[in-house]
């Protein structure tokens, strides 16, 4: 699957100007509320007509202002899962799911059985929407969209209306969609937790513009995007596999290119691939290897770049044997330690800072 998007449109106070490409998997449109994420999604779906640009799926144009192409919404074969999935109230979950199939234009590659199994809907099939929790409704809405045999699935903050346990439940199912059905997904979110868990490609949006896009781990480590990726929650994302599970201590050893990382409560088996976000604010720096400290993760590396800014703290990019980490430290420390690009440093990460929200399946 190859999705190419390049759209422009005046929208009230701001101008939408977004261009990015994706090679499948989960593409996250990330940005604050009002940054134009949903507008981009609606343009892909055909619900919003851009003034200029081109949208193509596998080379086939869905919209092309220059060529005068604008495929109608119902002919695009694009599934859409909205913030709050609306189901038809008077019919059962099974009938609601089959409504997806009824108007499908494709050959129906995904069966009702498969969708039921994949989204854990078996026990819900004969129930009515008003008996379902928000998370269950959303799973049915995803199932309905899948059964329409979409070439691409759009999700507009599908977890926004759910509480935290439901969120992580749905994220698990979206991970399964990504890994098992391999339906490409464009996912809109302002939550870095969600994006980090499921996205392969991230498009960073601000004030109607797509600032940058690329593979998640590369983009997350980019210094110049730090202001847009959440100073508090942001940080590098590394891919690793579970090298060891110490059940007695409840710790997992996650091996990655730059070494090993210990993290608690990792819900994955030895050998499985995971992705880990290490928040910049959870990373400390030392110029000599510290002794007798509680931090389990001491990663030797080289300081690659120093961020700019006049505030108390700045961002530092560290190269740990090819893997980029981000640290957020005070300017006072930078001065005191004489930190500068090229300087060998140790990146210190508290194992307990890597919580379950920071780890997902790769």
């Amino acid at each position: 699957m190859k999705l190419e998007v390049s759209v422009g449109k005046r929208l009230g106070a701001f101008t939408l100007e977004a261009a990015f490409a994706s090679d499948g998997g989960v593409t996250a449109l990330f940005g604050r509320s009002g940054s134009g994420k949903t507008s981009v999604l609606n343009a892909i779906a055909g619900l919003l007509r851009p003034e200029r640009g081109r949208i193509a799926l596998d080379g086939e144009p869905l919209f092309d202002a220059a060529a005068g192409v604008d495929v109608a919404v119902h002919r695009r074969r694009i599934g859409y899962v909205f913030q709050e999935g609306r189901l038809l109230p008077h019919i059962t979950v099974r009938q609601n799911l089959l409504y997806g199939r009824r108007f499908a234009h494709g050959d129906g590659a995904v069966s009702l059985e498969k969708v039921t199994e994949l989204l854990g809907l078996a026990s819900l099939l004969e129930r009515r929407p008003h008996d379902l929790s928000g998370g269950e409704k959303q799973r049915v809405a995803i199932g309905r969209a899948l059964l329409a045999d979409p070439r691409l699935l759009l999700m507009d903050e599908p977890l926004a209306a759910l509480d935290a346990p439901r969120k992580s439940e749905i994220l698990y199912y979206i991970e399964r969609l990504r890994d098992e059905v391999r339906v490409p997904i464009v996912y809109v979110s302002h939550s870095l937790d969600e994006v980090v868990r499921i996205a392969d490609t991230i498009v960073v949006m601000s004030e109607g513009r797509a600032l940058d896009s690329g593979p998640l781990n590369e983009t997350m480590a980019r210094m110049e995007l730090r202001p847009y990726l959440g100073r508090f929650e942001g940080g590098a994302v590394i891919e690793a596999h579970v090298g060891e599970q110490d059940l007695e201590m409840g710790l997992a050893r996650l091996d990655f290119a730059g070494g090993a990382l210990y993290a608690p409560d990792v819900d994955a088996l030895v050998g499985e691939r995971v992705r880990v976000r290490i928040r910049a604010r959870d990373v400390s720096l030392a110029t000599v290897r510290p002794e007798a400290i509680s931090m389990l993760n001491v990663l030797p590396g080289t300081l690659k770049a120093l961020g700019e800014g006049a505030g108390a703290s700045i961002d530092v990019q560290i190269d740990v044997a090819g893997t980029l980490l981000l640290a957020r430290v005070t300017r006072k420390s930078v001065a005191a330690l004489g930190l500068a690009p090229g300087r060998p440093v140790y990146a210190l990460v508290k194992a307990v800072a890597i919580d379950r929200h920071s780890v997902g399946w790769a």
Partner: protein
């Protein structure tokens, strides 16, 4: 499902009983035995031993009128069901886009010009279609508004305009000949229905019904937000225009036969929905059955309870208002 089956059975039984009753009662009573004999004779199962005036009362006088009540009742209820589904609003009637007002203006215009009965019906039919066409044309050009809202508001505004045109014609009409005829038409009546009226109106009503039956699955999706229905692969704009056209055709055909009979298209779908729920495929047939039975009952009352005929539009309002308020208070759940 069993509830729906029971509702269909009850409605059918009521319809059959009311039909028999409608044939039996009136200024010239016909017994059920005579009706049965006549039916058997018509089916070729027995010899006709009845007095000839019994046959003429049943076949020529009451027959067209009963059929007209069934047709108009079912058509108005079907159109109301479609509109309520499309607008996601149980307070909507087939008149919302101006079909009745347009038909009324057409009929009043024809009466004003003394054009005769057939022209009055033709003008009513054409006026209804033209009014909705105008509303739809203007409403769909209101960009930047929610399309359904734009349509309803345009319908209300155009309806008011047509209403004042009717008022003007009434004011200008000859108060001794034309004005009573206009008033009579505006209150609706089935008393003058001729068999050929039905032969003309029925095909149009059926032509409007066919797309509704074929589109019943899609109709349900109109309960979802527009974006969601479109993303599921339904061309909602085209669906809406087909539904408007079908419902308008049915209503215009009915109104051309009967004049304006209010309340049926508002009340009946609402009542039917309380019984079988909003699934269009189940709702439409029940709504039509109840609509036919209701209007037949109303028309039978109109011609029997008083020495003079009462206009059915008056009676539907008298029954409809309290019944509707009661239903409205009863139903808590929204769409």
């Amino acid at each position: 499902m069993r509830r729906a089956t029971l509702a269909y059975a009850l409605a059918l039984a009521a319809l059959a009983a009311l039909t028999a009753l409608a044939f039996a009662v009136g200024r010239y009573p016909v017994s059920l035995g005579e009706l049965a004999t006549l039916l058997a004779a018509k089916l070729g199962a027995a010899h006709d031993t009845l007095a000839p005036n019994v046959e003429s009362v049943v076949m020529q006088v009451r027959g067209p009128r009963v059929l007209a009540a069934l047709l108009v009742g079912a058509a108005l209820a079907a159109a109301g069901t479609a509109y309520q589904g499309m607008f996601r609003n149980p307070l909507v009637s087939p008149d919302i886009l101006g079909v009745s007002t347009g038909a009324a203006l057409g009929a009043v215009g024809a009466i004003f010009l003394s054009l005769g009965v057939f022209a009055t019906q033709l003008f009513a039919f054409g006026g209804g279609l033209a009014a909705v066409g105008l509303v739809y044309w203007i409403g769909s050009r209101m960009r930047g508004h929610e399309p359904m809202l734009a349509l309803v508001l345009t319908g209300v505004v155009i309806g008011t305009l047509l209403g004042s045109a009717i008022a003007l014609l009434k004011y200008l009409a000859d108060p001794y000949n034309q004005l009573p005829a206009i008033t009579f038409w505006l209150l609706g009546s089935l008393s003058t229905t001729a068999p050929q009226d039905l032969a003309v109106a029925a095909p149009f009503a059926l032509a409007g019904l066919a797309p509704m039956l074929l589109l019943r699955w899609r109709m349900n999706l109109l309960a979802l937000p527009d974006d969601e229905a479109r993303a599921l692969g339904v061309d909602t704009r085209r669906l809406r225009s087909v539904v408007v056209a079908a419902a308008t055709l049915m209503t215009a055909a009915a109104v051309a036969v009967s004049g304006i009979i209010g309340w049926v298209g508002l009340l009946i779908p609402h009542a039917a929905r309380l019984v079988v729920g909003p699934d269009f495929g189940r709702l439409l047939p029940l709504s039509m059955l109840i609509g036919a039975a209701f209007l037949l009952a109303v028309d039978t009352l109109c011609r029997t309870i008083a020495p003079i005929e009462i206009p059915p539009g008056v009676l539907t309002a008298l029954i409809g208002t309290p019944f509707f308020l009661w239903l409205f208070a009863l139903s808590r759940r929204g769409w």
